[in-house]
Amino acid sequence: MNRTGAKRKNILLMQGNEAIVEGALAAGCRFFAGYPITPASEISEGMSIRLPQMDGTFIQMEDEIASIGAVIGASLAGVKSMTATSGPGFSLMQENIGFACMAEVPCVIVNVMRGGPSTGLPTHPSQGDVMQARWGTHGDHPIIVLAVSTVRDSFEITVEAFNLSEKYRVPVIILSDEAVAHTRETVTMPSPEEIKIIDRIKPEMPPEWYIPYEVTSTGVPPMAVFGEGYPYHITGLSHDVRGFPTQRPDETDELIRRLYRKITQGFHEIQKIKSFMMGDAEIAVIAYGSVTRSARQAVLDVRQLGIRAGLLQLVTLFPFPRESVETVLNQCRAVLVPEMNLGQISREVKRVNQKDTRVTTYNRVDGQLITPEEIYSQLIQMK
């Protein structure tokens, strides 16, 4: 870890990738399996140093499929677990991510986005994997996707990702990008007492009463750990409340709907957004990831001209923060959605736009960041 320039002990200069490592460790992550890929490799490297110092385990697996498999296994054995990759590796992980959704295994998957498709632009940022993060694995499935925009975010949101994953027993995807991953910023690290940590709920009833996939009021059943006296069966097949394979339509329907319901019921807690100068805004930028940094600057700059602009930063991308976006669409005349892809979140914004508010898109897919000037000139045209 780079600790140069730290005046007080808890102010550190670090990269986004390093902040993800620290965030994960602070959240209680003690297992990491990964496969090297630019621009995510520093997360593996950091974990390989830090985890064994804390009696945790790092392992470099033979590929990304193996990495996510090992992460799911470790989580089932009761240890908070994470993997990190970029586009090509993220594609390989999809089948097992679906397993984690179906069997309700908490785990965190970091995707430091780079230009795609295919090998694409390994060393340039992109936001091209947003829809893959939501729909990458097959079948109807709920999932949580969070986006980081700064180094500080990378720390905090990683902690949050573990908390949500444990609480809802669902894989959480963190989308970072090459720009955030490799930018160095100073971060004031919170002390351990300041960090809120949530652990999965374990069964407390006598083992013979334990029903592993019981329908509970929250939709989240308590999760037993291997070797703690609650042996049960876990499968990616459609299963009944006891975890055994079923093809019965009623049991299958109940399962898939419960997987959705647990996320819908937690929606208000899961939905995370940050508003900037939205109070009196007439036009708004809706952005996420590293684009929000340019958007903030652009909003400040156009305000100098008397244009009442604001910014809605989406931290949670999925479940899509519909309510907050609707509020902005109702409040504003026009909305700009700048993205480093050809329009993935803008499509979601348009989907929830019931009022015919003008939604303008601004897209780059050349591996370059969207600058404050570009957003500034878009906003001027919208005034």
Binding site: R30, F31, A33, I49, P52, Q53, D55, T57, I59, M61, E62, D63, I65, A66, S67, I68, G69, A70, V71, I72, G73, A74, S75, L76, A77, G78, V79, S81, E95, N96, F99, V225, F226, G227, E228, G229, P231, Y232, H233, I234, T235, G236, L237, R242, F244, P245
Partner: protein, 279 residues
């Protein structure tokens, strides 16, 4: 020993839950399940300290029936899940059940790397030389010339030898048996479970329905006869020349060595890492 069978059945099978099983009458998978249970019982392991992990295939369904911590993973990936379990909780005994397609086609990469690492797992591979569950397509262990649903003109590829693959890749214990030689099988599995590092038991098994039927061995009895006539013990094989061995399979312990396992080495890494913090 009917009482013994009743005791084992009651102790280790989820008999009140998910039977009857899905396997065809006479399938070798049931024999392997019996052997596995006897071996675990003889090893004296506590049921809750055992995690049985399986891939996808007919063989993969074994985890439903046995009353341990059981995990039915994705096709080919069982060893990766098992690796995570073992590294996260060292006290668990992790036993992985795979089919030949599961372990050596889609999961071939994981298999050789688990062996290379000498990961502390026991891999039991039910080699029925075919894809049973999906309806009799060729697998990496299908013998040259065989008929399968995807080799309608006869198979033109050479087969993997799973045991030899495991040996050269670095497994510390490799044994091969058949579903005909059940006592040998019991002891191979028991030894594999007790071994530290990566232990492999390859079991030649009958899928008379998908493999046998298309290759002049349409009943379990015919396939058993084949195993009986073509399996040669290691002792006997040593006295035979290569020509006589042609077309036969050797059974018994193929390798048994004591080299440091992955976990032993990683524990040293942890100590080293903690010591570096104190400096």
């Amino acid at each position: 020993m009917p009482e013994e069978i009743t005791r084992l059945t009651h102790k280790y099978l989820r008999h009140d839950k998910k039977f009857p099983h899905i396997w065809c009458p006479g399938c070798g998978n049931g024999i392997v399940l019996g052997s596995l249970i006897r071996a675990i019982d003889r090893s004296g392991l506590h049921k809750d300290d055992v995690v049985l992990v399986s891939g996808i295939g007919c063989s993969g369904r074994m985890t439903v029936y046995a009353d341990f911590n059981t995990l039915h993973t994705t096709h080919g990936r069982a060893l990766t899940f098992a690796t995570g379990i073992k590294l996260a909780k060292n006290s668990l005994h992790v036993i992985v059940i795979m089919g030949d397609g599961d372990a050596t086609a889609i999961g071939g990469n994981h298999f050789i790397h688990a062996a290379r690492r000498n990961m502390d797992l026991t891999a039991i591979i039910i080699n029925n030389q075919i894809y049973g569950m999906t309806g009799g397509q060729q697998s990496p262990t299908t013998p040259y010339g065989s008929m399968t649903t995807t080799t309608p003109y006869g198979h033109i590829e050479n087969a993997f030898s799973i045991s030899e693959l495991a040996m050269v890749a670095g497994a510390s214990f490799v044994g091969r048996g058949t579903v005909f030689h059940v006592q040998l099988l019991d002891s191979l599995i028991e030894r594999a479970i007790q071994k530290k590092g990566f232990s492999v038991v390859e079991i030649l098994s009958n899928c008379h329905v998908q493999f046998g039927r298309r290759n002049k061995m349409g009943s379990p009895v015919k396939m058993m006869k084949w195993f009986q006539e073509h399996a040669v013990t290691m002792q006997k094989a040593k006295q035979m020349n290569t020509e006589d061995l042609e077309g036969n399979v050797t059974i018994g312990v193929l390798t048994d060595s004591d080299k440091p396992s992955y976990l032993e080495k990683y524990q040293l890494v942890q100590e080293q890492a903690k010591a570096s913090l104190k400096k």
